[in-house]
């Protein structure tokens, strides 16, 4: 392991899909991820937050090489990621693992838990056969499962226990990076808390860096050291979780924060008009401008770049950077 430097660096990632409308429709290009750069330090957690279709999950898959970017590059531990599918890439994948939302879908229903937790050890040829059983037991204990639960099948465990098993399997190869894609969304509230606590504990114990992909800002604050807010394939704001949550700079982050249901809320909620736009029909300029309450005519023309404010917060917004004073919202302006 090299000292210093980020563990994971992604630069200008782009992922396009071709989508056909109807049987004879013309294929249109959908930019699921449209120029995302991010950096993750060793042993830290970056929260990636946004609504469905914003490209946060695709970003997670791109940094693991589970999908090949159309542009941009990923480097891991100071080296450029090998061609996905190659032997070098497969060897590297032992050091970066993925945790999915639905643990039942991620586990093989026909194999007992312990066998599945031990599988990565076999695949990557880690340890002698005799040592593996002991390693599996250590892993099960680390995620809070009893060793007798290792003999059970996925359907015999509860949702929270299954997610623990998935985590144990992901940790088997002692990865430096875990990409967790909505790891708690399918769980009940009290179980969500258990898994969030577990993620924080495991990070402390193993020093694993995490990319925590979620739509839940509260959960992201709980587990992350930094947070990036995505909208329609781009990062629109990035900073410390408390800063972003308490003083969001981008109008979209503001709406997202204000939409968190919250007992005893003070003040007025910002309710955004309309739906998130279709990525196949990306608005001109700032993609958020049709829903933005402070959009100006500049916002409809020019795409704002993600730049640092004096206090270090990264934000992509003409108004937040003071390049133009707050408008009345583009839609209303047009109507007037």
């Amino acid at each position: 392991m090299k000292a210093g430097g980020a563990l994971l660096e992604a630069e200008g990632l782009v992922r396009r899909y071709a989508m056909r409308r109807g049987l004879l429709g013309r294929a249109v290009e959908v930019r699921a991820v449209d120029g995302v750069s991010l950096k993750l330090e060793r042993g830290r957690t970056l929260g990636l937050v946004g609504e469905s279709g914003c490209g946060k999950s695709t970003t997670g898959r791109l940094v693991l090489g589970m999908e090949t970017p159309d542009a941009g590059r990923v480097s891991f531990d100071g080296a450029v990621m090998p061609q996905p599918g190659s032997a070098a890439w497969r060897a590297m994948r032992a050091r970066m693992q993925m945790v999915f939302q639905d643990p039942l879908g991620a586990l093989d229903r026909r194999l007992p838990i312990a066998t599945q937790v031990g599988e990565p050890l076999e695949i990557h040829g880690i340890g002698a056969r005799s040592e593996r059983a002991a390693r599996v037991e250590t892993l099960l204990r680390a995620v809070g499962l009893r060793s007798d639960q290792g003999a059970r099948y996925p359907h015999e465990l509860s949702g929270g226990q299954r997610q623990r098993a998935v985590l144990a399997r992901a940790l088997a190869t002692d990865p430096a990076l875990l990409v967790c894609d909505e790891p708690i969304s399918a769980l009940d509230v009290s179980i969500q808390a258990q898994v969030m606590n577990l993620l924080v504990d495991l990070q402390e114990q193993f020093g694993t860096a995490m990319l925590f992909v979620s739509h839940d800002l509260r959960a992201v604050r709980q587990v992350s050291h930094r947070v990036a807010v995505m909208y329609l394939g781009r990062i629109v704001e990035e900073g410390e979780p408390d800063g972003v949550l308490h003083e969001p700079a981008h109008p979209y982050s503001r709406a997202l924060v204000s939409a968190i249901p919250h007992p005893g809320r003070a003040g007025q909620r910002i309710v955004l008009q309309g739906d998130p736009p279709n990525p196949a029909d990306r608005p001109s300029g700032c993609a958020f401008h049709p829903r933005c309450p402070v959009a100006t005519s500049l916002c409809a023309r020019e795409t704002p770049a993600l730049k640092a404010r004096p206090d270090g917060r990264l934000v992509a917004c003409h108004v937040a950077h003071g390049e133009v004073s707050a408008g009345q919202g583009h839609a209303r302006q047009e109507a007037a």
Binding site: S158, D188, V189, S190, A193, D242, H262, P263, D275
Partner: protein, 326 residues
């Protein structure tokens, strides 16, 4: 004042396994009541049972009174007038509640025909008015759209329009925003509030999310393992939760500010219906468990006028109160 709906001792069992173990709950006219709990606690089954929507193998006992009329065991024609008429229900996934091969206008008009006998251009005009009311832009043209042409949030608005077609006195919304994005969830919650104010309709909001309930409801009932374990006005529940399970649910919510602390996760999981603990259903996960917890199921006891909790630690000396009329 007589409550609009009163459930008394409502119990449901599937193949001998109890899903609901005696629910007492009343909803007053125009009131917004939240029902919160984790999956399998019976919060949805309660209202499916009340409206006769459960499969025949479900064994239902107890009573559901709507304005003095008993719904449990009521003949089908009576239930059909109530469902969608006096009590409407919407569900989590709007796209699977709507018929994908019919235009949404037709689906709204179907409800108008059934419950208000409207047909033809009359019905179409009313359907357009309802779509306007639920905030669908360009309502006139949208009547001819199919569900797949609308977004998830808009489909949920259409479901609400269909529910409103029968001018219900009570709308039961079962996790209406769970499948939606947070900014869309905010829109739907606002919509439900404004409709409730305009139409003086009562609302039962079923959710796993205490935050959602806190925003939309006046009173909340917390359910666990087929029973109500605490009932209180929303503010009181957050300030002074009495039941250890409610305290656990609130503690499990990551805070928005302040130092990051370990979440007070409730250990273990929900008991299976066929292996219910003999006493308090929450005892196996409760940090305050003592011998009496396993001896008998604690009843709801009054802490104050409107605050009740089913825990022996709450008021060991207090006798169970008479059911409080809402």
């Amino acid at each position: 004042m007589m409550p609009l709906v009163r459930l008394t001792g409502l119990s449901v069992a599937f193949d001998g396994a109890p899903a609901l173990r005696g629910i007492d709950l009343s909803v007053a006219k125009g009131e917004a009541v939240g029902l919160v709990g984790e999956s399998g606690c019976g919060k949805s089954v309660t209202w499916l049972a009340a409206l006769g929507l459960l499969p025949a193998k479900a064994r239902i006992t107890g009573s559901v009174m709507l304005d003095g009329q008993e719904l449990i065991g009521a003949p089908a024609p009576v239930l059909e007038r109530v469902r969608g008429g006096r009590i409407a229900m919407i569900f989590q996934d709007p796209s699977s509640s709507l018929n994908p091969v019919h235009r949404i206008g037709k689906q709204i008009m179907e409800a108008l025909g059934l419950h208000r006998g409207m047909t033809g251009s009359n019905a179409r005009a009313e359907a357009k008015r309802l779509l306007d009311l639920v905030g669908i832009p360009d309502a006139g043209r949208r009547l001819d759209a199919y569900p797949h042409e609308l977004s998830g949030g808009q489909n949920q608005r259409v479901m609400i329009a269909i529910a409103l077609a029968g001018q219900p006195e009570l709308l039961v919304a079962d996790e209406p925003t769970t499948a939606l994005d947070v900014t869309i969830q905010a829109q739907i919650l606002e919509l439900l509030q404004s409709i409730r104010r305009q139409m003086g309709m009562a609302l039962v909001l079923i959710s796993h999310d205490l935050g959602v309930i806190a925003e939309a409801c006046e009173r909340v009932a917390v359910m666990y393992a087929g029973r109500i374990v605490e009932e209180a006005p929303v503010a009181q529940l957050f300030d002074a939760a009495a039941h250890p399970y409610t305290q656990g649910l609130i503690g499990a919510l990551p805070p928005m500010d302040g130092p990051r602390r370990r979440l007070a996760a409730i250990p273990g999981g929900v008991p299976e219906p066929w292996a219910m603990p003999p006493g308090c259903g929450f005892a196996p996960r409760c940090q305050f468990r003592s011998a009496p917890c396993d001896a008998a199921i604690p009843g709801l006891m009054g802490l104050s006028d409107q605050h009740r909790a089913a825990c022996i630690r709450v008021a060991p000396a207090a006798m169970p109160l008479e059911r409080i009329p809402a």
